[in-house]
């Protein structure tokens, strides 16, 4: 299949025609916005060198591009280092409790379709204590942009292993090595059939902002995993993906409609379908052009995207980055508000007096 043959996104009319126009319900401003407009007056207090600084700067400088009214943007977070994020943005913000940000944001987004709601969470917050809320927000397709800062460690509680830490991780709570197999957040999100699933890197501002833009424009739930370095408790976790010497050999850049190839020179490799039903990495030279898998982010079936998400097994040998999946289906707020509108259209706006006097009544006196 070539890129020309790929089906267009939004094959079915969904979201009241809002597909691909994820920001259509959110009031816009003509006023010129700058990075400064989105900086709050609060002093940023992450450890010097933390990857969160780069993400904050990238978000602050990307938000003006959306052209949205600042008062219609809300950042909701849970608990953890990353969850301080809302304090540093001059939008509406809600720093909540551990793991619950997707649930709080669900109530907000479901009742306010005119808001651009962002959830800032980390690997512990989203995948341990808040795992349930995350998968349900994704399956419901609540209109949220969930940014999952994955540093593969617990930072705020000072260095215990997290649900994305590699097996055998030596930490304060696992002096003999951690025993549990980590979650792959992308696989998890695809398993929950999230509509938009992507991975990017704290230090790659251009890629990060590109992914954020697509997430923002996607109406429904977007999950963006951001590899983020914790220079105190898990320094260098993503060095092989950042070091110019190794970076290009292991990073698999996913671009919709493009054949999936990576690596340089003799080491150039390609991804093709494997006989076992998954995908596999082979030497580029060993396969014909036609055999190379062309990335289709809009495929309604998440199976291939899931297979791609497994390429980093084991041990980060090759790591896909970019948009795994971007398909449209009705967002939860749209469906919920449609029911309210339908009920109102069918029976008229509710009258309290009629409600109270409904059923069998009798009069005395």
């Amino acid at each position: 299949m070539t890129s020309a043959e790929l089906p267009a996104s939004g094959r079915t009319p969904l979201n009241g025609g809002l597909n691909g126009k994820g920001l259509a319900l959110i009031p816009r401003t003509d006023a010129k916005q700058t990075l400064k407009d989105f900086k709050s007056d609060q002093e940023v207090r992450w450890c010097p060198g933390c990857g969160d600084y780069a993400i904050l700067a990238a978000v602050q400088s990307f938000l003006p591009e959306l052209g949205l009214r600042r008062e219609n943007i809300v950042f909701v977070s849970g608990i953890g280092c990353s969850s301080r994020f809302p304090y540093y943005l001059n939008t509406y913000g809600f720093h909540s409790i551990h793991g619950r940000a997707p649930a709080i944001a669900t109530g907000l987004a479901a009742s306010r379709p005119d808001l651009s709601v962002w959830v800032i969470t980390g690997d512990g917050d989203a995948l341990s204590i808040g795992g349930n809320h995350l998968i349900h927000a994704l399956r419901r397709n609540v209109n949220l942009n969930i940014l999952l800062f994955n540093n593969r460690i617990y930072g705020l509680t000072k260095g215990q292993y997290s649900p994305t830490s590699e097996i055998g991780k030596i930490t304060k709570s696992t002096p003999m090595g951690s025993l549990d197999k980590p979650f792959n957040p992308i696989s998890l999100a695809l398993g929950a059939e999230a509509g938009f699933v992507a991975r990017t890197m704290d230090s790659d501002r251009k890629h990060l902002q590109g992914v954020l833009r697509q997430a923002a424009e996607h109406r429904g739930a977007s999950l963006v995993e951001i590899y983020q370095n914790c220079n105190i408790f898990n320094d260098g976790a993503f060095d092989t993906l950042k070091d110019p010497g190794t970076r290009d050999e292991i990073t698999v850049r996913l671009e919709h409609g493009q054949p999936i190839v990576f690596g340089t020179g003799e080491n150039e490799r390609a991804v093709r379908l494997s006989p076992t039903g998954g995908v596999e990495v082979v030497r580029r030279a060993e396969v014909s052009d036609g055999e190379i898998l062309v990335h289709d982010a809009h495929n309604p079936d998440p199976s291939l995207a899931f297979a791609l998400s497994r390429l980093d097994e084991p041990a980060f040998e090759h790591v896909p980055m970019g948009v795994f999946r971007s398909v449209d289906r009705p967002s939860y707020d749209h469906l919920l508000n449609e029911q309210v509108a339908t009920a109102t259209a069918d029976k008229g706006e509710g009258s309290l007096a009629d409600l109270l006097h409904g059923g069998d009544t009798w009069t005395i006196g």
Partner: protein, 614 residues
């Protein structure tokens, strides 16, 4: 045959059968007929948590008790005058509550050897003289029904299932109930199965005719309509009244209602009810768990909705951290706890008042919340509106403590005019409130101490709130020790200062020396007991708390003006502990925790003992 008609002032009927026998429906219909007739009434459904326990067994018995009268009554009654027993299990499970001389209507068809064995009857009690102290009417309800439906194009099973309508028809004849409502009800319930509708109506009418013609029933009874205050009435259960109260609260506050909820007995009916009323702009969200239910409600409140979550005790335990977040972010939120027997899963379909201390204190930190408790099923409406008023006016989560008895019990309710309902609007903040056009999210109203409520979408008032301690005024993160002390005290002072009506005392003679105090669903039995005590020539004052936090300002004064204060609670003395600590009054507790409401007779005896002691 001329039948005798006897006048009665009140009757208590209990319908009991297998959980598949449709006893709740039968009871509901008899209640509707009785309400339509104009009697005062009070009901007590009692059903197992199992949806279908093994047929014919004691755990599978479901019952519905109805007390109706020609005067105002307060409880579903202590002991039935009539027991309808659809099978041996229903007889065995209920005979202990039946006073000698009461009527028993037993379905003989179900008293088979096998069914008798299932519940351990050695012989058939309908045939030996073990029931000789009662008035037994042995009626083959099932076979009479099947015979009456001969010729209908329905299965034998469907014909047998209509036996509850036969029983309803018979009881409707016995107590001269109007029948049109039930016929209309059956037509609409089985609108899609007209043959089943006709068969059920025929069974209902056959039951009526059976009463009129058979010699086994020589007397029918008349209970004149009650003289209640003038107005338009309907019968309403606590859960329905609470749902309507939440809707009314949102309407009167001019806010969209957002319900985040997870199904749990006995609160689920509120979720069901509210989900039917989307045309009021109500959004109902069945969450993935209890925590998500309250969290979504709080998120919606942040966005300018009236956030509500409904649950029972185990759910409140799970929601505690989020309620704490609502306390510290000072956002409106209503947490409805329809209490049930605990701890842990406890007895989900049975009632209790054991969540008071959890509602008051079940959170980390100093985390004060207003706590309200309706006194009767229809009072659930009033107190839900009151919860909305307090939540919105003071920007605070409010705990509303209903219970299983109120939730499922019903009574006639004088429908209020919408114009009688309070205007509880508390507008959003839309303008800066600080110097230089800044917005201070924690700058308080000097009178109520409530903070402003600026919702996303309001230009210029962008701000951040959260669970970390906030600096007074600005709301910025603050670890300053004195600021924390100040904020802890401000949050407490705000709740302490909520305007709550004074506690009123019912003391007809004005010189009683004993006060019987209650809260929540014990109102009916306590008031009925007080009546009995007074009728017997003793003096007792009665007062009932519907605001538990803050307490009415005159509570201490009331308690101290009696020699003795008796406090019956369906717990081990939770309110008593609070009152003793707060007012140093030696409150006398009376506690039974059986999963059932108090009986008026039982409480009358306890009040009598307290009056007579020393």
């Amino acid at each position: 045959m001329t039948k005798q008609v006897q006048q009665l002032d009140r009757v208590i009927i209990r319908f009991a059968g297998d959980s598949g026998d449709g006893m709740q429906l039968t009871g509901d219909r008899f209640t509707a007929e009785t309400a339509q007739f104009g009697n005062d009434l009070s009901t007590l459904p009692n059903f197992p948590a199992e949806i279908r326990a093994p047929a014919g067994t004691l755990p599978g018995v479901s019952s519905f008790q109805l007390h109706f009268a020609d005067h105002d009554i307060l409880t579903p009654g202590d002991a039935p005058n009539v027991l309808v027993a659809m099978n041996p299990a229903a007889l065995k499970a209920n005979i202990g509550d039946l006073p000698r001389g009461a009527d028993i209507i037993a379905n003989t068809d179900e008293f088979t050897k096998r069914n008798l064995q299932k519940v351990g009857y050695p012989g058939n009690p309908l045939e030996d003289d073990s029931l000789k102290e009662w008035r037994l009417h042995a009626v083959p309800l099932t076979s009479l029904t099947v015979r009456a439906l001969d010729g209908f194009d329905i299965s034998k099973k469907d014909a047998e299932r209509a036996k509850n309508m036969f029983a309803l028809g018979l009881l409707s004849w016995m107590y001269n109930r109007p029948t049109e409502g039930t016929i209309k009800f059956l037509e609409s319930k089985f609108a899609r199965k007209p043959e089943i509708a006709k068969a059920n109506i025929a069974a209902f009418q056959a039951g009526w005719n059976y009463g009129e013609t058979t010699e086994s029933f020589s007397v029918s009874y008349e209970i004149k309509p009650a003289t209640l205050a003038p107005g338009v009435y309907r019968n309403i259960s606590g859960n329905q009244a609470l749902s309507y109260g939440l809707i009314a609260g949102a309407v009167q506050a001019k806010l969209p209602l957002f319900l985040g909820s997870y199904p749990i007995t006995p609160a689920s009916d509120i979720l069901h009810e509210l989900s039917k009323h989307k045309r009021f702009g109500i959004r109902t969200f069945q969450a993935e768990d209890e925590i998500a239910g309250v969290a979504a409600a709080l998120g919606a409140s942040f966005g300018g909705s009236l956030g509500v979550t409904t649950t029972s005790g185990p759910g409140v335990a799970l929601k505690a951290e989020t309620v704490g977040l609502a306390v510290t972010t000072e956002l409106p939120l209503i947490v409805v706890d329809v209490q049930r027997a605990g701890p842990s899963t406890g007895m989900p379909t049975k009632t209790e008042q054991t969540d008071l201390l959890m509602a008051m204190y079940g959170r980390n930190g100093e985390s004060p919340v207003p706590v309200l408790a309706p006194a009767t099923p229809s009072d659930c409406f009033t107190m839900a509106v009151e919860a909305a008023r307090i939540a919105v006016k003071y920007r605070t989560p409010v705990m509303l403590l209903s219970d299983g008895y109120l939730a499922n019990g019903s009574e006639p309710w004088r429908i209020p005019e919408v114009s009688e309902l309070p205007d509880i609007t508390a507008p959003f903040t839309t303008e800066p409130n600080g110097e230089d056009g800044t917005y201070l999210p924690f700058k308080r109203d000097p009178e109520t101490l409530a903070r402003p409520w600026a919702v996303p979408g309001t230009p210029g008032l962008e701000h951040r709130i959260g669970g970390i301690e906030k600096a007074d005024g600005t709301g910025n993160i603050s670890y300053d020790p004195d600021n924390h002390d100040r904020m802890v005290r401000l949050r407490q002072a705000k709740i302490d200062g909520i305007d709550v009506p004074d506690l009123t005392v019912d003391d007809p003679g004005g010189d009683a020396r004993v006060l019987v105090l209650g809260w929540g669903s014990t109102y009916g039995p306590i008031a009925a007991a007080a009546r009995r005590v007074r009728a017997a020539g003793h003096k007792v004052a009665q007062a009932h708390l519907r605001h538990l936090n803050p307490l009415p300002a005159n509570t201490g004064e009331v308690l101290r003006s009696y020699d003795k204060v008796l406090l019956p609670e369906i717990n081990l003395g939770q309110l008593a502990m609070l009152l003793r600590a707060r007012f140093l009054v030696d409150v006398i507790s009376y506690n039974r925790v059986r999963g059932l409401p108090f009986k008026a007779e039982e409480l009358a005896a306890v009040i009598g003992e307290v009056i007579e002691s020393d």
